[in-house]
């Protein structure tokens, strides 16, 4: 075994560890922000594996699309969804992995969450809301009650796949070094044989953007009578409390203008 092969094995170990540990941390940590960061680590590990497999264009695409684009979106979504942070840490017994991956999270001070009080008449599962309101600190776990079954199902899926891969008689592996200029080959394929898929993906992105904007704008339906006006709310700015300096917008521009005209 020469140095290059040893380096390859070492790099594989590092990247496989990063990707699997990142994925495990993503599912088990108690802070959603932290799980977004763990997911980023997992994506970086998979990008490293792509580069080891000589798919360098895909490795770059992975980092740019997933980490540059999607993770920003994920972290934006985390802002919406009331990140429990270390809230429940004080009162919960956790399995080893969860305790390990959420180590260092501190229980937050209790803050009054106006946005999360369920006074909406649309919400008719009152009992569940009352339950949530009663033990605010307890019921903010990020997991459903089916967590043990989910763990067993995930483990079973993993074991089944690993056994399938291991017990398959033998893959017809070719010892062939692919073209170094893979981006050129991929570009030719995308513009030639897979033209329709490429254009279809473009059309689908357009439709996705349109659908996302359509769903996310204010109001329920354009024809609905109780649809809100989609303009922003015009609100008077709050008065500054006891500001000694005169506000700038109280200066009468017209007077100033006339004064300057007189000087001329």
């Amino acid at each position: 075994m020469n140095l290059g092969e040893a380096a390859q094995i070492f790099a594989f170990g590092v990247f496989a560890f990063i990707s699997i540990a990142g994925a495990l941390g993503m599912t088990t940590t108690m802070s959603m922000f932290r799980s977004g960061i763990f997911l980023m680590a997992s994506f970086i590990g998979v990008a490293g594996l792509f580069i080891l497999l000589m798919a360098d264009l895909l490795g770059m695409l992975q980092i740019m699309m997933y980490i540059g684009g999607m993770l920003v979106m994920i972290l934006f979504m985390v802002l919406f969804s009331n990140d429990p942070g270390g809230d429940m840490m004080a009162s919960m017994k956790m399995p080893f992995l969860e305790r390990f991956f959420s180590s260092g999270l501190l229980p937050q001070k209790k803050i009054h969450r106006d946005s999360h009080s369920h006074h909406n008449s649309r919400n008719n599962n009152n009992q569940a809301d009352k339950d949530e309101g009663m033990n605010m600190g307890m019921d903010m776990s990020m997991f459903t009650s089916l967590k043990p079954y989910a763990a067993w199902i995930g483990l079973t899926v993993t074991i089944v796949f690993v056994l399938l891969f291991l017990l398959f008689p033998d893959w017809p592996v070719k010892n062939f070094i692919p073209d170094q200029d893979s981006s050129h080959r991929i570009g030719m394929l995308l513009m030639g044989k897979y033209m329709m898929a490429f254009e279809g993906a473009g059309l689908m992105i357009l439709l996705g953007i349109y659908g996302a904007i359509y769903l996310a704008r204010p109001g329920k339906h354009p024809d609905s009578k109780d649809r809100n006006d989609p303009s922003s709310i015009n609100e008077e700015p709050p008065q500054a409390a006891e500001d000694p300096i005169e506000p700038f917008y109280n200066i009468n521009l017209k007077e100033l203008y006339e004064k300057s005209e007189d000087e001329k």
Partner: protein, 103 residues
Amino acid sequence: MILPINAYLIVSAVLFGIGVYAILAQRTAVMVLMGIELILNAVGLNIVVFWRYIQPENYSGQIFTIIIITIGAIEMSVGLAIMMLLYRNRKTVQVDKYQDLKG
């Protein structure tokens, strides 16, 4: 090709299993979407491994991974929009509170 193909396949199988666990066990919509991303990632890794080891002269495998990444981006943006709409209507982001489909 010092590494056997099974090493990479096991990594992708483990990623897939963790993604399944994340989808089933998490309560928040964002975490479910993260699990879906993880599964898409595992599938992409699997495709690239099979391209590299079985058919390295045919670059179609990488095209499929590119398409998968694109679909993942679209799914994420539409998921964000749906989640914002649901949050606006129901004032909660817990998936197990979404028990009816009426807006």
